[in-house]
């Protein structure tokens, strides 16, 4: 028996456990790619449109930071720029979650102990997890390449982009392999890996923002920070513009190094423990913990604070580049039209800020889903059983968690607006005015996020065992309708399914009370319905 004995069996087990998730993953990446390719082909139909796109994108710091370095006026390059961030983050996060699910989470639940007692080598669980994720990335990368090629893009470039995206997934799978050894909990391992994804994004964004524009004005030569980020390497492959395959050697080297580190860490720790030791806690509880609300805050605070930091960093950086926008779209009629369409005004900066607020609202809705689903986590693990066997009523328990979820949602949107306003105010010299104006813009989005909160409560009340999957599906639907709805020219009734569709894009549009009041009413009604159904049902443990 070697350290790798049992790897094949564990890989089959992982594939069996994740068969639905992997299928969705393998189809989502090419699906997004194909949808973006099709809409880009429509909007930038002619060579001159694309030259305009490339020139303005290369000139704009915002575009460089968000879409990566442009690489010439070919259709494939424009598709790459438009789809890159979404595809990269999808591949990175799906890969980290999958690795942690099959390593640290198994240890946390005790499954790994049972497996470890069988004829299974020390390194087999991690190897099996990595093989599974490698297979998923290769498959989704290949399908992405085929989907792009089927849409009329050159085969070589499609393959290069597919490989680059798969490489991102593999890199962050390797990162997760390390964080799963360092942290003693799945939550911690996922959090650390997500932080590394965020860092890689910031490095790449900085490297591309500081980059220089080539002589023809249509390409960006990235600065060094892009070259130390796995997200940057995938750009430097320059799919559809040279297809520099050797760059992927950096990806492979990074992944091998990280996986090697993970194996060394595995060999030097006990099953179930992390490299980070678990600290001791107080012997006696503080008074602030001793109520359902106090417990809920204790369980939610880490998530709220983590989101708050992310939102502020994002808001400051977004706000501070707001004034560069005019050069981004000034000369490109199609892009200008698109932004106008998204923001509903000719004032491009306000349209941009309005769009940013809508994006913040969607992101914060993700927080809301995560926070409300804590209800289900508490129920599924059995912790709720202990609470409800004390003198705490079901409504009191549910509302104590919901209170923090709702307050957190409103607070995060306030922070998003205020930090964007601060960033924008600093570059335009009007801090108080911009902070006030954009805080309002952030808060306007709150009713829609609260509708999402209410929907999750209903799902928790009605279908507890399906609530996690259904809630995230509803959230994804809102994201797709919000981000791609206009681009894909979906009919209005479909767009109306998302609560975010109904809110004005402040500051580009004026705030209006009616949709906010109606959405708040819907949120309250959904919460009441969820509460009523939860009061009437059995507890569903496990």
């Amino acid at each position: 028996m070697t350290a790798f004995t049992g790897t094949a069996r564990l890989t089959r087990l992982a594939l069996r456990r994740d068969r639905v998730k992997l299928l969705v993953w393998a189809l989502a990446v090419p699906g997004v790619g194909a949808a973006v390719a099709q809409s880009v082909a429509g909007i930038y139909a002619t060579e001159s449109d694309r030259i305009g796109y490339a020139t303005t994108s290369a000139a704009s710091v915002v575009a460089r930071a968000f879409n990566g370095p442009v690489s010439g006026p070919s259709l494939g390059s424009v598709v790459t720029a438009e789809a890159y961030t979404t595809l990269a983050l999808l591949a990175a996060l799906l890969s980290t979650f999958a690795v942690v699910r099959h390593t640290r989470q198994n240890e946390e639940t005790g499954r790994a102990e049972l497996l470890g007692s069988a004829v299974v080598g020390r390194h087999a669980p991690l190897t099996a997890a990595l093989l599974t994720v490698l297979a998923a990335n290769l498959l989704s990368g290949l399908l992405l390449a085929l989907a792009l090629a089927a849409g009329g893009l050159p085969m070589a470039g499609s393959l290069a982009l597919g490989a680059a995206i798969a490489g991102i997934g593999v890199s962050f799978a390797a990162v997760a392999a390390v964080t799963a050894q360092i942290s003693g909990t799945a939550r911690g391992a996922n959090g650390m890996a997500a932080a590394v994804v965020g860092l890689a994004f910031l490095l790449r964004a900085a490297g591309d923002a500081w980059g220089t524009v080539s002589a023809d004005g249509m390409r960006v030569v990235s600065a060094w920070p892009s070259w130390i980020s796995p997200l940057g390497w995938a750009n430097q492959v320059r799919a559809f513009d040279g297809n520099r395959w050797p760059v992927l050697a950096l990806t492979a080297g990074f992944a091998l190094l990280a996986v090697g580190t993970a194996f060394v860490l595995t060999a030097h720790r006990d099953l179930g423990s992390g490299v980070l030791a678990v600290r001791r806690g107080p012997a006696v509880a503080a008074g602030s913990l001793l109520s359902p609300g106090g417990l809920a805050w204790r369980l939610q605070r880490g998530v709220v604070l983590g989101w708050a930091i992310g939102v502020v960093v994002m808001g400051l950086s977004m706000g501070s580049v707001g004034d560069q926008l005019d050069s981004f779209v000034g000369e490109n009629e199609a892009a200008s039209e698109l932004i106008t369409q998204l923001g509903g005004t000719d004032k491009l900066t306000d349209a941009f800020l309005g769009t940013m607020m809508a994006m913040f609202a969607l992101a914060v809705a993700g927080f809301a889903v995560q926070a409300v689903l804590r209800l289900r986590t508490e129920e599924a693990t059995g912790a709720l059983e202990g609470i409800l066997a004390t003198a705490v009523s079901r409504p009191r328990w549910l509302l104590s968690h919901l209170l923090w979820a709702a307050l957190g949602t409103v607070a995060l949107l306030t922070l998003a607006g205020a930090s964007t306003g601060l960033g924008y105010g600093l570059v335009t010299g009007d801090v108080p005015g911009q902070v006030a104006r954009l805080t309002v813009a952030g808060l306007v989005q709150a009713p829609a996020a609260l509708v999402v909160t209410g929907l999750v409560v209903v799902l928790f009340g009605l279908l507890p065992r399906l609530s996690v999957a259904l809630s995230w599906s509803a959230f994804l639907l809102c994201v797709v309708l919000g981000q791609l709805g206009a681009l894909l020219e979906l009919p209005q009734p479909v767009l109306n399914l998302s609560p975010f569709t109904h809110l004005p894009a402040v500051p580009a549009a004026d705030p209006s009370a009616t949709p906010m009041v109606v959405l708040l009413g819907v949120a309250v009604a959904l919460t009441a319905l969820g509460l009523a159904t939860f009061r009437r049902r059995d507890l569903a443990v496990g």
């Binding site: 001791r280 806690g281 509880a285 109520s291 204790r298 369980l299 059995g382 004390t390 003198a391 079901r394």
Partner: protein
């Protein structure tokens, strides 16, 4: 006075009938053993008693209230130790104990500290580092330090070592002496025998036996072994005597309770040298209901369900 009274309780999950007209009566001030194999419906019953699950049919009364409707007010008067204690990984054991105490309406601080010491539990450790036994100790300490009328304990000692088990028994005995009521679901027969005034045995969602240990024994035959000066004969003809085997001076048989007197008179004529009677242990009673033929002692047939 009854603390818990359940009659004709039915609970179905999908097509599975988990509880099939279950009956259970727990008198105030007694320690009541609740026995049954895995999947018999013990935990389901307890969850209905706590208002965590909703009954489909039947009557349920806990401390004079309806556990579903009056959950909150009843829960101030009872404490629960689940079979599988799940805590919050980032809270310390001490925090979890104080939390449960506070949510139940108060906790005796001195008794809490005494219990921590007696159960040898380190309250500063995070719950994620606790073993199953230590997680159970957290729930036990929180329950025993609360001033409540009724304790509902679902296999509370399944993770405890024998030393801790002894401490547990000591506290349960003290609780009974203080007039508290305890419903104790358990697989540890010696524990139930040592602690319980009355027991209920359930099988496949139905109560098959209920009563004091003496009553349960009364319902079954007692195996006896007698050594006599002269070989015994004619014993099998007496009423209530079964499974007689004679091998030389030693005779083994089983006798129904209530028919012992004529049997002893009969045996006396053969010159009794030794006489041993081994009343069935609870374990044997239990196995008779659930064990296959192999598990029960030879010649003992299971009593029909509901024989009493």
């Amino acid at each position: 006075m009854t603390a818990i009274s359940v009659a004709g309780l039915v609970k179905t999950f999908g097509t599975t009938r988990a509880l099939d007209e279950l009956d259970l009566t727990v008198r105030s001030g007694e320690v009541h053993g609740f026995l049954g194999p895995n999947g018999a419906g013990k935990s389901t019953t307890i969850r209905i008693l706590l208002g965590l699950l909703r009954k489909d049919a039947g009557e349920v009364d806990v401390l004079g209230g309806d556990p579903w409707r009056d959950a909150v007010s009843l829960h101030r008067r009872l404490a629960y130790v689940p079979g599988d204690v799940n805590l919050w990984p980032n809270l310390s054991g001490g925090e979890a104990i104080d939390l449960f105490g506070a949510l139940r309406g108060g906790l005796d601080r001195a008794r809490r500290d005494e219990l921590l010491q007696r159960f040898d539990l380190d309250p500063t450790k995070k719950c994620r580092t606790y073993s199953k036994g230590n997680r159970q100790k957290v729930a036990i300490v929180a329950a025993f330090a609360s001033d409540v009328e009724l304790l509902v304990l679902d296999e509370p000692t399944s993770g405890l070592d024998p030393l801790m088990e002894a401490v547990f028994r000591e506290y349960v005995t003290a609780l009974r002496d203080a007039g508290r009521t305890v419903l104790l679901s358990s697989h540890v027969m010696s524990e139930v025998e040592a602690l319980c005034d009355r027991v209920s045995i359930i099988r496949a969602g139905r109560t098959v036996e209920s009563g004091t240990l003496a009553e349960l024994r009364h319902l079954t035959r007692t195996p006896m072994t007698v050594e006599t000066e002269r070989p015994v004969d004619g014993l099998a003809d007496l009423a209530g005597v079964h499974a007689v085997t004679v091998s030389g001076a030693t005779t083994r048989f089983e006798v129904e309770s209530g028919t012992l007197d004529p049997v002893l008179a009969h045996l006396a004529r053969f010159g009794v040298r030794t006489l041993t009677s081994t009343p069935p242990t609870l374990e044997e009673l239990f196995m008779r209901h659930y064990g296959d033929g192999s598990a029960a002692a030879p010649g003992q047939r299971p009593l029909p369900a509901g024989a009493r």
